[in-house]
Amino acid sequence: MTYTTKKEPTFTKDAIALDDMILTKDSPTTAGSKMLEGYTSLFDATVAEKLSEDYEILGKVAVSEFALGMLADSAATALDEKEIKAVVGLDANGAYRRTAALTGKVFVKPTYGTVSRFGLIPVACSGDTVGVMADGADEAKEVLGVIAGHDDKDGTSLPQEVCAAALDAGTIKKIAVVKDFTANLSAEMTAKVDAAIEKAKAQGAEIIEVDGGVLSQAKLAWAILSSAEFCNNVSRYDGVKYGYRAKGCHSIEEIYVRSRSETFGSAVKSAILYGSHVLSTDNYDKMYDKALRVRRLVKAYFDELFTKVDAVLLPACSKTDLSATECVYEESKYTAPASITGLPVVVAAGVQWLGKPLADGALLAFSKQLA
């Protein structure tokens, strides 16, 4: 499952693994795509640079092509099988959150802008977040502490003092459960949610039920925004400068079409087609621009809700027997609200706990109590 194992741990430092979306100059980074087979970056991602100071980076964990898939199961497997403290990887469309929920791991998707995206293979830039998967909240918190911080090389990076504040512990006393999202779950998932609520109550948290309002629209809005950004981000892979070039091409068009078609899988192709569809002149206003406005409404929904509660509980997916071949779009209903707003999420006790911006430390402290 593990893509490469660079070296055996020396045990002088703790070991961690990166996923195959994070560029490093001493080993290939392929985003799980045949397009980038053997591609080695000329520079290290900021997170890789930071991690290498404190940890032994053992290697790269495989990802689904451009991390669009349902699960990040290689990361969970690596945590179980290797002597590593954490896997650091890109949460593009919720794969890490679903996987953590199903395997009982802890995953923190930090507040957008607190961890640098420099050196990340971009998927959907306005929501891409580097997160940490670990066996427990302490490990996740420790590693997040290493990678969080301002980076001049990322134009969306928050100021250092803001990044630092995200790690402060805080208390979570009142939690909202969004009704529309806890209905229609499989029996196993309902049980997981109920158990999580009980654990929270046992820690003295007050639970209130709220209506989802505009929240259910985050799913399509994020599909529109993220596909468009993805389509734009992967148009650079064209067989001209690096990566795969189809053999025996006689024209530039042939290089483009064959190099891309021979390497990209069907999920990638679908997202590209849809992403260009929503940006066409005819559709821009009713799809892309509309989605940008819906994003603001979703953000406003959370802003309002967080005046009343400290955290919001959302399931990470609808059922426990997810298969890699299912349409991720349907399951993204649960993960899109945080993706589209950049809010911090900690997956613990099998569900997502969303907080207001910079509540990362509070969520981690809370999830530790749930263990």
């Binding site: 802008g113 001209v240 990566g243 042939e254 290089i255 590209i272 406005r293 349409c327």
Partner: protein, 92 residues
């Protein structure tokens, strides 16, 4: 739908097999069923939100540096010679 996918293939320099087209059509159909309620959301007067964090003026000083060599950049090039990347002759 078929015409739309054919057009989008061209736009994106792609060629899809029939199976891949079926997957794409499925994806489009899944989103399409949510489109009516999405469209019905009242967004009049709502400002589009491009960035989730309210930063502005992230700028750098006008200082140049050249840390990478041409040889490094072209190491993984499918075709490069004399410092140029190369492609078949373009016809204007």
């Amino acid at each position: 739908m078929e015409d739309l996918l054919d057009m989008l293939e061209k736009v994106n320099q792609l060629s899809l097999t029939d199976e891949e087209k079926a997957v794409a059509a499925g994806y489009f159909a899944a989103t399409e069923k949510d489109f009516a309620t999405f469209s019905a959301v009242d967004t009049d007067g709502v400002e589009p939100m491009v960035h989730v964090m309210p930063l502005e003026n992230v700028l750098r000083e006008d200082v140049s540096s050249q840390p990478f060599t041409r040889e490094d950049l072209q190491k993984g090039a499918p075709e490069a010679e004399d410092g140029y990347w190369e492609v078949p002759r373009l016809i204007e």
